[in-house]
Subunit: 357 residues, 2 copies
C-alpha cells in the first residue's frame, strides 16, 4: 500500500525548497523502495491568490486524505494588508486546528560542523540537542472569548483567553513524556504557575502523569527562567514541554541558539501519527527567486515525516546521515556562511543530499 504525502509549497522560498524535497522523496521511491504518492495543493498566500482562501477547501480535503503533509513556508509582504482572515498565517493556524495537530515537535540540534554559526560560545552550545514539545491547537491561540470591544467607560480594549482543559494538558503531556522516554529521559515542563491559574492546572496534571512514566524525570520551570536558562546553559535540557504561546517563543529562542535556523525541521502531529512537517524558518521574501535558500531544514522535515507518519525510521536515518555527510564534505548554502566551505545554491545542495543517500 502506497503512502500519500501532500506537498504544500506555499509562498516565496517555499516552492524552491519543496522542489528539493520532491527530488528526495522520488529518489527514495525509485532507489530505496519507498511506496509514496505525491499530491500538490495550495496553502498560504498562494491559496488566497489562486482560490480565495489561505486554506482552500480542496487543500483541506486532500490533507485529510493524506498520511502526511510537507509544507514549505507561508507569507510575504504582498498579503500584509489584506483582511485578517485571509492572511497566509491564518491558513497555517486553520490547518493545524482542522487536522487536530496538537503536538508540535521542534528539535534544536546543532550539527558539529556548524558550531561556529551560533552567536553563543562554542563551549556553551557544542553538542546541543533539545526537543521542544509545544501544544499547538489550544491555549491563547484558540481560546474564546476573544476580540476588541468597548468598555462601559467608552474605552476600547482587546482581550484573549488562555484556557487549557485537563484533557488537552494530558494529551500534550504524554507526548512530552513519550519523547523524553525515547531520548535522555528528562522532561522539563515550562509554565508560569506562580501567576496563572491555567499554569497551576498544567503543573498539577504534569505531576499526575509523572507516576505513569517512572523512567522519566520530570522538572518544572517558570517560562521567564526557561528563557534565561536557554541562553545561560542550553545543554541542561533534554525535552521541554509547554503550551502554545510559551512554546512559540521558547522554540524560536532555542532554534536561534544553533545559529542556523535554515537547518531546523519540525513536525505537528495528531493522535494517530498523521502530521504536517515544515522547516522552522519562514518564507524569506528577501531571498526568494534567487535559488539560494537552504533546503536542509525541509529535507530534515522529510526525515521526520518518514519516521513519524510513514513508520520508515531507517529511511529517515538515511536522510539525516546524508545531510550530515554533505555538511562534513564542506557544502554550505549562503545562510551557513557559504564562503567558508563550498558555496552552493538550493538545487545543488538538494542534489548533493540525494547523491549522498
Amino acid at each position: 500500500m502506497s503512502h500519500k504525502v501532500l506537498m504544500l509549497p506555499g509562498d516565496h522560498v517555499g516552492p524552491e525548497i519543496v522542489a528539493e524535497a520532491d527530488k528526495l522523496l522520488r529518489c527514495l521511491a525509485s532507489e530505496f523502495g519507498l511506496a509514496v504518492e505525491l499530491e500538490y495543493a495550495n496553502l498560504g498566500g498562494c491559496g488566497v491568490d489562486a482560490e480565495g482562501a489561505p486554506l482552500p477547501d480542496s487543500t483541506l480535503a486532500l490533507a485529510r486524505d493524506s498520511d502526511a503533509a510537507l509544507l514549505g513556508a507561508v507569507g510575504g509582504p504582498e498579503w500584509d494588508y489584506i483582511e485578517r482572515d485571509k492572511r497566509p498565517e491564518r491558513g497555517l493556524l486553520a490547518i493545524r486546528a482542522a487536522l487536530g495537530l496538537f503536538a508540535n515537535l521542534r528539535p534544536a540540534l546543532l550539527d558539529p560542523e556548524l558550531v561556529n554559526a551560533s552567536s553563543l560560545r562554542p563551549e556553551v552550545v557544542s553538542g546541543l540537542d533539545i526537543l521542544i514539545v509545544r501544544e499547538l491547537t489550544g491555549g491563547i491561540y484558540f481560546g474564546q472569548p476573544r476580540g476588541i470591544r468597548t468598555r462601559a467607560d467608552g474605552v476600547r480594549e482587546g482581550f484573549n483567553t488562555l484556557v487549557y482543559g485537563v484533557d488537552e494538558i494530558e494529551r500534550i503531556g504524554r507526548a512530552g513524556f513519550e519523547a523524553a522516554r525515547r531520548r535522555d529521559g528528562r522532561l522539563c515542563s515550562v509554565d508560569k504557575a506562580n501567576v496563572l491559574e491555567s499554569s497551576e492546572l498544567w503543573r498539577e496534571v504534569m505531576e499526575g502523569l509523572a507516576g505513569e512514566y517512572p523512567d522519566v524525570s520530570l522538572s518544572h520551570m517558570y517560562v521567564d527562567n526557561a528563557a534565561m536558562q536557554l541562553v545561560r546553559d542550553p545543554r541542561q535540557f533534554d525535552v521541554m514541554v509547554t503550551g502554545n504561546l510559551f512554546g512559540d517563543v521558547l522554540s524560536d529562542c532555542a532554534a536561534m541558539l544553533t545559529g542556523s535556523i535554515g537547518m531546523l525541521p519540525s513536525a505537528s502531529l495528531d493522535e494517530t501519527g498523521r502530521g504536517l512537517y515544515e522547516p522552522v524558518h519562514g518564507s524569506a521574501p528577501d531571498i526568494s527567486g534567487q535559488g539560494i535558500a537552504n533546503p536542509l531544514a525541509t529535507l530534515l522535515s522529510v526525515a521526520m515525516l518518514l519516521r513519524f507518519s510513514l513508520d520508515e525510521g531507517e529511511l529517515a536515518q538515511r536522510v539525516e546521515r546524508a545531510v550530515a555527510r554533505v555538511l562534513a564534505d564542506g557544502l554550505r548554502t549562503a545562510d551557513l556562511g557559504g564562503g567558508q566551505g563550498q558555496s552552493v545554491g538550493t538545487a545543488a545542495m538538494g542534489d548533493a543530499v540525494v547523491a549522498a543517500l
Copy 2:
C-alpha cells in the same frame, strides 16, 4: 525637605544586599548632601512570618507615604507549600498593583569589564545596552475572569484573561517613547498581533502614538521573532516596549545575555515618578547567609531610584561611575568569576563602591 525611602530587605540574600544599599545611601547623605530618611518594612516571606501576609498593611501604608522603595528580593523554599495568596511573590504582585507601578524599566547593559561572563560571543554582545519597558500592572497577570472551573462535560480547565485597554497601552507606550527619546531614539514594540486581538489593538495604539514622537523611530516585532533576535543580534535594539507577560520573558532573556544578572537593576514606576526599585536577580536561597551575594544590582537600583524618584541625576551618575570603577579595579564577587579578579564578598564590594564615590 527630606526624601523618604522605604527599605524592603525581603528574604534570603535580600537583607544582605540591602545592607549595602543602606551604607551607600547613608554615605550619600553624610558626604554628598542627599536629604533622605530611611524606613524599614517587611515584604515577601518575612512579611508572612512576622505579620501573616506577604504584603502587610503596615508595609503598604509606609510605601504610600514614601517617595520610593528599595526591594532586595522575595521568596524561598520555606514558603513553597503555603496557600497561594500567602506566597512571597504575591506580595510583589500586590504592591505593584496597589501603588500603580505600571512601568517596569529593565536595562540590560554589559559592562566592558564583564564581556567574558556572557555565554554569547564577545563580538555579538560587547557594548550591549538595551532598555526593556514592560507593562507591569495589567495584561494576563491581572485580567479577569480567571481561575479553575469544571466544564459542562465534567473536565476541569484553567483559564486566564489577557486584556489591555487603550488607556493602559497609551500609558506604557508613552513611557517607551519617552525612554527612547532620552536614548538612541529607536523603539521596538513587541506583540503577537498575527494571532492575538489584544496585540492587534496594542499595535494600533502604538502606531497612533508615533505621530506625537517624530524624533523616535517605531518598529514592531512579533514576540517569537524578538526572542530570536535577542539571541542572534541583541545590539540591534535600543528600547523595547511590551506587555506584562512578554516583558517578563524577554527581559529575563535580555538580562541573561549579559551573563551577569547579579549586575542588573530595575525600576517600577507610577505616573508621578514614585517607584519600587529592585535587582533583577532573585533571593538566591542557595547562597544566602554566606555573605557572598553580589550587591551591585542593588546599588545600581539605588542609582535608578536617585535618578527617577528623587531627581538626583548627578548622584545617580556618581554611583554608576563608582560601580564601573570597582569593576575596572578588578573587584569581583563569586558570581562574576571571583577567581579572575580580586575575589570579594558582599560587604567588601559595598565598601569599595562607597569608597569609590
